[in-house]
Symmetry: C2
Subunit: 292 residues, 2 copies
């Protein structure tokens, strides 16, 4: 039986520990960092890493450094994306965004600190539970997924395409990179911790890519039909800025069908792992269906 609440509590405890006393000075940046890390995130990314590691029988403890490192990278990207120079969002998950509370300068530095801490904890905390060879692979995975050829590249293209007419190729690039590569990194990292073979890593990667795309399509749909309080941000804000979205490009019904198709393809990738993959599959489904 998959105890989701327990897993979330373990992730929260680990994050609290990784961002604790030794790093409390200067106090203000520590506060700014913790404000966004403990802002009600559902820990989807760390849970995906733990669930992927579980397939191969790895202990949660061993998967925790990469799981939390990825969560810190995700959090830094939200802080920087919300800045006035970028998306200029005042709210995030129904709370004031980091720069509205701590100022633009501190928000920039808090993001920088989180990104740096991600790699630091991967090495320092990682050494306590993982072989060096595994840590080096995890650093490379996270660096590639989060860098200019990954998440940052997606953000750049997204920024540049605002106000332009939708184009299927560009839309796919943005989502695969801005959101998808870090999703994929979560799941691949779990496999790496668990000692997955290269063909198993390929299966996990394909699963992650299908789920990531389905997630993004549903995100676009919810942004249009969703309800402001539930999401904690202004409904239709992406549309107002003329961002390219799946519903804008394909129409609402076609976008929904595309999401369902992705989810089915994702399921098939996990067949060979049997029941040990149930957690990962369940998480992927809940994620796409927005029931978690």
């Amino acid at each position: 039986m998959y105890d989701l609440k327990k897993s979330v509590a373990l992730v929260d405890a680990a994050l609290d520990c990784y961002l604790a006393p030794a790093h409390t000075f200067p106090r203000e940046i520590h506060e700014a960092v913790r404000y966004s890390v403990f802002a009600g995130g559902k820990r989807l990314r760390p849970l995906l890493t733990l669930a992927a590691a579980h397939i191969f029988g790895a202990a949660e403890e061993a998967a925790m450094p990469p799981a939390c490192a990825i969560e810190l990278v995700h959090t830094y990207s939200l802080i920087h994306d919300d800045l006035p120079a970028l998306d200029n969002d005042d709210y995030r998950r129904g709370r004031l965004s980091n720069h509205k509370v701590f100022g633009d300068a501190m928000a920039i530095l808090a993001g920088d600190a989180l990104l740096t801490r991600a790699f630091e904890l991967l090495s320092i905390e990682g050494q306590k539970v993982l072989p060096d060879q595994t840590i080096v692979r995890l650093v490379a995975e996270l660096g590639s997924a989060a860098g200019a050829a990954g998440m940052i590249g997606g953000q750049v293209v997204d920024m540049q395409s605002e106000g332009q007419l939708p184009n299927a190729e560009t839309l796919e690039y943005i989502h695969r990179h801005k959101t998808g590569m870090l999703f994929t990194c979560c799941i691949r990292s779990g496999g790496i911790v668990g000692g997955a073979s290269s063909s198993q890593i390929k299966r996990l990667t394909a699963f992650a890519e299908h789920i990531g795309l389905a997630f993004q399509i549903i995100d676009d749909i919810l942004d249009i039909i969703g309800d402001e309080n539930k999401l904690g941000k202004k409904v239709g804000s992406d549309e107002n800025k003329q961002k390219m979205t799946y519903p804008a490009l394909y129409g609402m019904e076609q976008a929904k069908r595309k999401a369902t198709h992705c989810l089915q393809a994702a399921r098939e990738e996990l067949n060979e792992f049997g029941k040990r993959a149930d957690r990962l599959l369940w998480l992927g489904e809940k994620l796409v269906e927005r029931e978690y």
Copy 2:
């Protein structure tokens, strides 16, 4: 005979290679990243890493990934520091700063990309020339030196103390962290690549801390007496903002004596290494005396 020009050329070639084709899309962020990395920097930090590795007979090739990773971290910190939300500097080394050319959003993302690439290259390029154990130590060193308890912490305290009266303890904290810890990281990383013992790493650390402090004092002095063209930034800009500086706190003559004293203490730390430490010592001296 120490061929400085050759070492600089090797560093430039490595940086060019580490920031090349595979990372060319999206083109604009690649351009923004390269604009600041190839902006006439003297490659002091990479040279320090190579010189420290040389003490222990390590090949330049083996020391190049950490040497260049640190240079990328240094460059990202300059891009973010120059942003309007932070120091708001329009010029850097006599050229327009990154955000003046590419805009604030792209400058933020270019800094993020450089920081991420630093860790990525340390793992991916590092694996070609270094054992995994060494790479994990180097990632931990760089993460600690660059993070909230290191360089970013120094920047935070510096920012918070603008407009306040100088205070010796705060001044020392800022310099040790904002500039000093990355200097120290360069030199320690060279030692780690070379397989230095822990007592040898301690010597290198002490050398680095003395040199870093001397460097910062001279930097403050030059900011007052220096000449705008030579430094490529507005003379007295730190003073205008009422930043705490050594001359402001101790007076000009006392500040100069403090720098000389630091340099002598640094020299003594390298005694036990004999002639193989000549490059590192020479670099440290030139650096402090601003003859390189």
